[in-house]
Assembly symmetry: C2
Amino acid sequence: MKRDEFDTWSRDRLEQVEAALERWVPALAPAGLGDAMRYGVLDGGKRLRPLLVLSAAEAVGATDSEAALRAACSVELIHAYSLIHDDMPCMDDDVLRRGKPTVHVKFGQAQAMLAGDAMQALAFEVLTPEDDSVPLALQARLCGLLARAAGQDGMAGGQAIDLASIGRPLDEQSLSDMHRRKTGALLQASVMMGAACGDASPQARQALSEYGAALGLAFQVVDDILDVTQASSTLGKTAGKDADQNKPTYVTVLGLSAAQRRAQTLREQAQAALARSGLPDAAWLSVLADKVVERDC
Amino acid sequence: MKRDEFDTWSRDRLEQVEAALERWVPALAPAGLGDAMRYGVLDGGKRLRPLLVLSAAEAVGATDSEAALRAACSVELIHAYSLIHDDMPCMDDDVLRRGKPTVHVKFGQAQAMLAGDAMQALAFEVLTPEDDSVPLALQARLCGLLARAAGQDGMAGGQAIDLASIGRPLDEQSLSDMHRRKTGALLQASVMMGAACGDASPQARQALSEYGAALGLAFQVVDDILDVTQASSTLGKTAGKDADQNKPTYVTVLGLSAAQRRAQTLREQAQAALARSGLPDAAWLSVLADKVVERDC
């Protein structure tokens, strides 16, 4: 029942997100840059991060839907830019993403790099509307949360560890640290940015932060599992890539069945944190934690 | 006399900027990322953008020196990241910058790309201190100005035009449009971010915006002139690069002596805008406009 309601709710919200991205990612950016940016972010992906933002905003009773929508688009822009850069030849050198040629394959490396750079800037543009349709204090909070999740202490730092770990054994602690930054920080920030759009007690905020941390790690554990259990055609990206590149993953470090158990434990931790939050409207966050662990692509 | 005073003032302020960058660009970012970031931004460059921020802040009587210092460092971080990405093989493919090997030569392409990405995020982290030592409304304003200057409508968009213009004739209008975005937007934003740190009348703000636009274009005209008149050893970067790459420049479009006259005209426009601003303390901005045009590197 909850699932059906969630599906209806999320379909509606994702339409809003797609329409907003369509509006905010400029078709008219100069010299083909807009085409590359739009190709990299429109019509693709599961939009997990926007859904986390919007679910968290609803959970804390946010009334400022403009702010939540902008936050949802900003995290997706950061995520999409990171995929563009990550796929480039000097990084993962991947040619397939979401079932389509990657941005650098289609537009060239220089344009791909610039599109990623411009999308990072655009994320902060989206958070700072000049008409002040989002209160300035909230704009500042959202920019701060996003910047820290994207930067050296978050996503970019995690990618640097990832690069340095190719072909090297990592223990589980180091692997977790890498993924907390690389994937977890932006997922957790999505939750916290949604929460910033409404009023939540410090206790609720702390619980949501723990929910976000558990969900972020669960997401990566499942990603590692799917990389070995699914075909490229299901994933929409090259499967078996981590093993080919000799990258440490939860599956190589823990083994497949222990990794699967770990994903379940993290799901339970996420649900327990939600229960601790005391928030009455956290149903969508609960569904999302289940979906992250149960997904097959 | 003014020049001597300016030199004393700017030496003092640049020491503060260097110390702040030293503090904020993390030595401990993971897996060598911090080393690449610090290499790319510390101990190098003329620091024109930070000086514009701090001069404009003084011109409007800004009392919040913490905000101005953070703004100064944030524009330098954006500038430095753009140089790192611009120098990469898929872009300008340059090996020399500020007399040293470029970041990708020293740290590899992947690390250079990540360092640039992390530095863009860091610019927004610097603008959003969590201790609220900068008022939240001002944090939001500064983030908005910086994001727009860095993104598709500013620097990244200008670079896309630059890429697309290689080997193609551009008329002067298109060349100006490209440079207004590529170099001008961030220089102008530096002035406006400084101005945002204090109180200025709408008239003064408008005049400062025109000053920033003229100075921004003058900077690029002079850059194009120096590219043909100076040796690499003086510039600290590869001279004659634009001609080698068959890129349109003010010198190729206007000819050398007309380009030199244009730089003088833009200097006069910048000074006239300052006079219109009615600001009593705009002396440093005036000196900077002169220095931009008179520089030999």
